[in-house]
Structure formats: structure tokens, C-alpha cells
Amino acid sequence: MKKIQILGTGCAKCQQLTANAETAAKQLGVSFEIVKIKEIPEIMKFGVMSTPALAVDGVIKSQGRLLTPEQIKPLLA
């Protein structure tokens, strides 16, 4: 089970990233859950300064970029 975490305060880019991550995980056929992290102190704990950021199982994989599903797939492998 992969835990996909989307860090961001809810801007349009964060929502698009959430949707793209979901698409990527479904296409890969991995079991996953998506957790949205919207509280700033929580976001800061990851050491992230640009949102939206994407973490997998607690490890930051990308920040400040809106990744496409194709770009997210290798991060979930």
C-alpha cells in the first residue's frame, strides 16, 4: 500500500496534482491511498517551501511542480 501525500493549501495546482497522482496510481495498478496535507505547520515539517509538493510514504519526491501522470509513475514504483 503506497501512501501518496499531496502538500498544498488547496490551490488549483494542488487539486490537479492530486487528480494526476490518482490517475498515475490507478494506471500502475498499485494499491494506494491519497492524503491531502493542507495545514501549513504540517507542510513545514516536510521542509517544503514550494507547493504543491508530492510525497510517497513520507518522502518528498517533487515540489513546486505540477507533474503529469506520466511523470508521477516512476515516483510510485
Binding site: G8, T9, C11, K13, I40, P41, I43, M44, K45, F46, G47, V48, M49, S50, T51, I60, Q63, G64, R65, L66
Partner: protein
């Protein structure tokens, strides 16, 4: 050297060759735009030399590809430069820097560090909790949105390098001075208490990008930014073409001209709460200048729209107490007014 390395290097060279080839093609096409517009309007369409319609059309046919090509090139270049300046690296440079030197550096880094107003809060916390002085952080936060590459290109393309340089220079100047003043005022206690209590996690180790990746990020920046702003560019040029072809009415001269001393404060007060991206404001700038508004007034209006906005104040309220927000907006607005008035007086 292992095969993957060889392969990567081969790919990198292919990218560089492709990039240089693209640049040559770009240059060749760019140099022929004026001739093309002339040929299309006067030879193909056969419009008379002196007609308003012909002049407006020639302006539009020439300026549109010119500005879009400039924009693409600059956004691509800046997109690549930004892969070298992550917020983490910028923070490391600014940490513990003394004021003044720190303010200048922060304003300069504001231009090349990737920044989106939606990340203003995490960036603010990430800066002030790890030893970047408050005033220096503000210099960055002011310069990052205000000194904008899209605005710079549009001003250069449509009004020439002098206006573009004025915008760049004064934008940096305001960011440096306003940040320095905020630092001098010792306003740290007007930052929400929880901000300084936040313990940010260790920053992610910036992965070293290879050139193909940097180029890809440059392409992404073009798709993202040019894809979003082209419609405003078109609108701006259309407005410009209308003014260019037909006689200006100068009706703005009375309220936004040089002689009306209150025109600059009026423009700033109007512009501060407004929110728009740099490209969206250019059609309005075109219209105002064309109708006889003074350059300083229009520049002040543009700066206040892109540097400050009501949504930004609401976002920053999470980390700043009202007094600091008011001080921040007040100092920046005052700086913009001074610059606007100075231009109107000197030019």
C-alpha cells in the same frame, strides 16, 4: 565510462545541438517578421500605404509574432536559469546575511528563484525560521512577483529597452528599500507567534539535474506561462494596433497626464487591491499610454497591480499581524508612488 553514461552524454549533446539549431532558426525568422508584415499588408492585401486600417494591421501582424517569439525565448531561458536557483539554495545564500547586502541579494534572487504566490506562506516561514532576517525576506517577497520576466519582455517588445530597464531598475530599487525599511522598523513581534515556533523539517537534498532535464523544465515553463498569457498578449497588441492606426484621443491626459499631480497616488490606490498577472495588465498599459497618460503614472499603476493585491494580503494574514501587513503594503505603495512621480518629473 559505462554505457548509460555514454548514452546520457550523447543525449545531452543532441539536446545542445538541437537548442543551437533552434536558436538559429529563431533568429532567422525573427529578422524577417517586419518584411513579412509589410509584404502581407501592402502586397498581398494591397492596402493603401496611408490608410489607418493598413497601419493598424501591419502593427498587429508584425508585433504579435515578435512579442510571442521574444516571450517564448525569454521564458525558456529564465525557466532554465531557475533550475539552478531553488528556494532552498536561495535561502542558504541569504541565511545570516546582514541587512543591506542581504536586501540587495534577496531582491536580485527574487528574479531568478521560482516563485508562485500560492507558496508565499511556506516560503516566508521557511525563510524567517532558519535565520533569514525579516527585512531580507520581504525584499525577496516584493521582488519575486514585481520584477517579472513576462512584464519585462512585453515592455521591451512594445515600448523599447529604456522602459524595460526603468521597470527592472526601479522594481529592484523598491524591493531593496522597502525590505530594508521593514528590517529597520523591527517588526518581528508583528509576525504571528506560531510562525517562529514552527520547526521546519530538513530541506530536501536538491537533486542535481542533468541538462536534458533542465531543458525539459524550460519547455515546461514555456508551455505553462506562454500557454496562459498569449491571449493577453494578443489583446494588448490589438489595443496597441487600434491606437497605432487611429488617431489618439488624449482623453486620459487630463486625469493621468503629467500635469495632474495626484495622478500617481490615484493610480497606485486603484492598483494595489487589484490582482492580475503581468501579461493581463499590458493591454491596459497600452491603452493608457496611447491615450496620453504619463509613463510614470502607468508604470506605477502596473507595478502596484502586480506587486500587491487583496488576495495576497489575505494569504499573508495567516502569518502576519494586521499592522505588519498594513506597514508592508504602505511602504511598497509609497515606494511605487515615489518612482512614478520621479519619472513624471524627469522624463
Amino acid at each position: 565510462m559505462n554505457p548509460t553514461n555514454n548514452q546520457n552524454q550523447g543525449r545531452a549533446w543532441a539536446f545542445i545541438a538541437g537548442g543551437l539549431g533552434g536558436l538559429v532558426v529563431w533568429w532567422w525568422v525573427y529578422g524577417r517578421l517586419a518584411g513579412f508584415a509589410d509584404w502581407l499588408v501592402f502586397t498581398v492585401l494591397g492596402l493603401p500605404q496611408e490608410s489607418h486600417l493598413a497601419r493598424a494591421l501591419e502593427f498587429f501582424v508584425y508585433e504579435t509574432p515578435k512579442v510571442l517569439m521574444l516571450l517564448t525565448l525569454v521564458v525558456f531561458g529564465v525557466g532554465i536559469i531557475r533550475t539552478f536557483f531553488t528556494p532552498e539554495r536561495t535561502r542558504a545564500i541569504l541565511q545570516g546575511k546582514r541587512e543591506s547586502v542581504g536586501n540587495v541579494l534577496a531582491a536580485l534572487l527574487g528574479i531568478v528563484t521560482p516563485f508562485c504566490s500560492c507558496s508565499a506562506v511556506p516560503l516566508f516561514i521557511g525563510f524567517v525560521t532558519t535565520g533569514v532576517p525579516l527585512g531580507v525576506t520581504f525584499s525577496f517577497l516584493i521582488s519575486a512577483p514585481m520584477v517579472n520576466e513576462v512584464a519585462l519582455v512585453l515592455l521591451f517588445g512594445l515600448f523599447g529597452w529604456k522602459v524595460a530597464a526603468l521597470y527592472l531598475g526601479t522594481g529592484l530599487f523598491i524591493a531593496i528599500i522597502a525590505g530594508w525599511v521593514i528590517g529597520r522598523l523591527r517588526l518581528e513581534r508583528h509576525v504571528e507567534e506560531w510562525v517562529y515556533a514552527t520547526k521546519p523539517g530538513a530541506a530536501m537534498e536538491a537533486d542535481t539535474l542533468d541538462w536534458p532535464m533542465r531543458l525539459r523544465l524550460g519547455v515546461e515553463a514555456v508551455r505553462d506561462i506562454v500557454g496562459k498569457v498569449w491571449i493577453y498578449v494578443l489583446l494588448g497588441i490589438a489595443v496597441g494596433a487600434g491606437i497605432h492606426g487611429y488617431v489618439p484621443e488624449n482623453f486620459m491626459a487630463a486625469i493621468m497626464g503629467k500635469d495632474a499631480w495626484w495622478s500617481v497616488p490615484f493610480a497606485v490606490v486603484l492598483g494595489v487591491p487589484m490582482y492580475s498577472n503581468a501579461a493581463g495588465i499590458i493591454p491596459i498599459v497600452q491603452a493608457l499610454l496611447g491615450k496620453g497618460a504619463a509613463l510614470g503614472t502607468v508604470l506605477a499603476f502596473m507595478m502596484s497591480v502586480i506587486a500587491l493585491s487583496l488576495p495576497e494580503a489575505i494569504i499573508l494574514r495567516k502569518v502576519l499581524k494586521p499592522r505588519l501587513i498594513v506597514t508592508f503594503f504602505g511602504i511598497v505603495a509609497a515606494g511605487i508612488m515615489v518612482v512614478g512621480c520621479l519619472f513624471n518629473a524627469l522624463l
